[in-house]
């Protein structure tokens, strides 16, 4: 990828007592790419994700978003700069209507192209079959629809970089494929995506590049082919490394 670096970490570290969850991680996400972050359980994916979006503070190291140092900035500041994210467990507002959920997100102060972002948002609504005037209580939606609603909520904030934590968790194959199609189309429209994912089939469908985390460090980086054919990566998933 030759685009600008939208998200970057330098020597990012985090400990929980004696457990090293992130150890000197240098990591970048460049404009226009769809990068997947994978790794076995306990590899440090969620910790890195939390530090990137500002939910957890790093013990040391730096985080840069859109060229600005945001290491000590609150999470909402990062969102206002153009970051959007969904959580591992669905966190749409279940007691509010679909329309209310979609109306709440705040537009970032520095959206580079509102028109493009608005088009992406409208595309996602159509592709996911969501109606911004729908008064249905979102808690009554199916699991898949809720996942899609949360992605649409994030896009309603016109982000430049979207981070998704296991967006297809609990989805059937058909819905997973549909999600993959939409994410690829969003990427084609210029959106940058970072996806934390367990499902390798989904990773193969969407990823340009893959970062493998293992024991709090970056174990491998490369294309999907590089990673899926790597014996070393297979071995850590099987517990041999």
């Amino acid at each position: 990828m030759s685009g600008a670096v939208l998200l970057e970490t330098k020597a990012l570290s985090k400990r929980f007592g004696g457990v090293v969850a992130a150890n000197n991680i240098d990591f970048t996400v460049t404009e226009g790419e769809l990068r997947c972050l994978i790794g076995p359980n306990g590899a440090g994916k969620s910790t890195l994700f939390s530090m990137l979006c500002g939910i957890q503070k790093a013990d040391s190291g730096e985080i840069y978003a859109f060229g600005k140092r945001v290491t000590h900035r609150q999470a909402f500041h990062r969102v206002r700069r153009g970051l959007g994210l969904t959580f591992q467990s669905n966190r749409a507002f279940h007691d509010l209507s679909v329309a209310e959920n979609l109306a709440i997100p705040r537009k970032p102060l520095h959206a580079r192209s509102h028109q493009k972002a608005a088009e992406r948002y409208r595309y996602a609504l159509d592709a996911f079959g969501l109606d911004p005037a729908d008064q249905t209580r979102s808690g009554e939606l199916s699991h898949d629809q809720l996942q899609w609603l949360e992605i649409a909520m994030v896009l309603a904030g016109f982000p430049d970089l979207v981070m998704l934590d296991e967006p297809t968790a609990g989805m059937a194959t058909e819905e997973t494929n549909r999600t993959a199609e939409v994410l690829k189309a969003l990427q084609d429209s210029g959106l940058t995506l970072l996806v934390v994912e367990h499902d390798m089939a989904f990773v193969r469908l969407v990823a340009d590049s893959v970062t493998v985390l293992h024991q709090g460090t970056i174990f491998a980086e490369g294309t999907v082919e590089d990673i899926t054919t790597s014996e070393a990566v297979r071995s850590i998933y099987l517990g041999k490394a």
Binding site: E100, A103, Q135, E140
Partner: protein, 350 residues
């Protein structure tokens, strides 16, 4: 402008959106408007007392019901505004501007104290369950402090704070030469209740209100949509405190006195009871509950019943057990005051 206001008033943030509801609302307002013409000034004054508590109840609904933050010490702001008014208006006695400056000072004082308190609570991200304890401690400290202000040394200008006997002889509110007392005070209270209700209804149907409700539902999700939830919670806390202060200001007009017991434990519990019994997620429910429960308390007390507060407390327990969302809200839901929800939900499913 008018169209936008009407749209905001008629939004989904509160129960009651049908034409039938608005007819009933108009009838209720007409009843309260005509009430003083049919009764003595004493009775009108009693109803004014019920009405003057409504802004504090609405503030509690805003903070607890819509924002999800329970304050068990909002009467502190009731007391702060009342004492500040007494001090300012008392020192400016003889000036027609004194009461107006007192009202401004009382509300400003509330806002400043609430902003400082809210800053430390919300910016420190204190857990929600601790906030009721902190707020209760604050009001009990205030009560204790005010209780020991007996004696001539505890005076501000010419006004004595009065210790447990309180501050007396507080001037009436007046605008220019017009003094609000008797029936005019009743109408002042009624006007403020109506304006506060509509103002909050508009606020909660606006984007600000949507975000406030979102914070109640999931604070982290709301922050991750780009909102500084600390600032917004603090803002809601300040607005809510100012509403409690507004009730305090009306209270000192009503009785021309204020005592530390008004910021004590018993008084601190009352707004929570009104809000819980009516239904904390509805402004209208809290208006109704505040008026009805104040009437009930007064009626029981005036008939020599020493257990008025025990009965009110029992009502709270019954509500929590059988009507967890509040009696008025659950009644409204039961008799189909929110058919639009079900109808639209059904349409959404199909």
């Amino acid at each position: 402008m008018i169209q936008r206001s009407l749209r905001l008033i008629g939004g989904p943030a509160d129960i009651g959106r049908t034409p039938l509801f608005w007819v009933g609302f108009a009838v209720a307002v007409a009843f309260f408007l005509l009430y003083p013409t049919q009764v003595s000034s004493f009775r009108a004054s009693n109803v004014a007392y019920y009405l003057l508590n409504v802004p504090m109840g609405l503030g509690m609904a805003l903070l607890w019901g819509y924002c999800g933050v329970l304050s068990f010490g909002h009467v502190a702001y009731f007391g702060i505004a009342a004492y500040l008014y007494g001090i300012i208006a008392g020192n400016m006695a003889g000036s027609s501007w004194g009461p107006l400056v007192g009202v401004g000072g009382g509300l400003l004082g509330c806002a400043i104290v609430a902003a400082i308190f809210g800053y430390f609570v919300f910016y420190a991200r204190v857990q929600k369950w601790i906030i009721p304890i902190l707020t209760l401690v604050f009001t009990l400290l205030l009560e204790t402090f005010l209780g020991q202000t007996a004696g001539y040394q505890w005076r501000v200008g010419t006004v004595l704070l009065g210790g447990y006997n309180g501050m007396t002889g507080i001037p009436w509110f007046q605008l220019g030469g017009f003094v609000f007392e008797g029936y005019s005070f009743y109408y002042l209270c009624l006007g403020i209740v109506i304006l506060t209700y509509f103002g909050l209804r508009m606020l909660m149907n606006a984007k600000f209100g949507q975000v406030v409700v979102a914070m109640r539902e999931d604070e982290l999700r709301t922050e991750m949509l780009g909102f500084d939830t600390r600032f917004r919670q603090c803002a809601v806390f300040v607005i809510s405190a100012m509403l409690a202060g507004l009730s305090g200001l009306l209270y000192v007009q009503w009785g021309n006195y204020i005592t530390p017991s008004q910021v004590g434990l018993l008084q601190a519990a009352l707004p929570v009871v009104w809000t819980a019994v009516g239904g904390r997620t509805s402004l209208l429910a809290v208006v109704i509950a505040t008026i009805v429960l104040n009437w009930l308390t007064y009626t029981l007390s005036s008939q020599g019943n020493q257990y008025a507060m025990v009965i009110i407390g029992g009502l709270l327990v019954v509500t929590m057990m059988f009507f967890p969302r509040g009696i008025v809200v659950m009644l409204a839901e039961t008799i189909g005051r929110r058919p639009w929800r079900r109808r639209q939900a059904a349409e959404g499913r199909s």
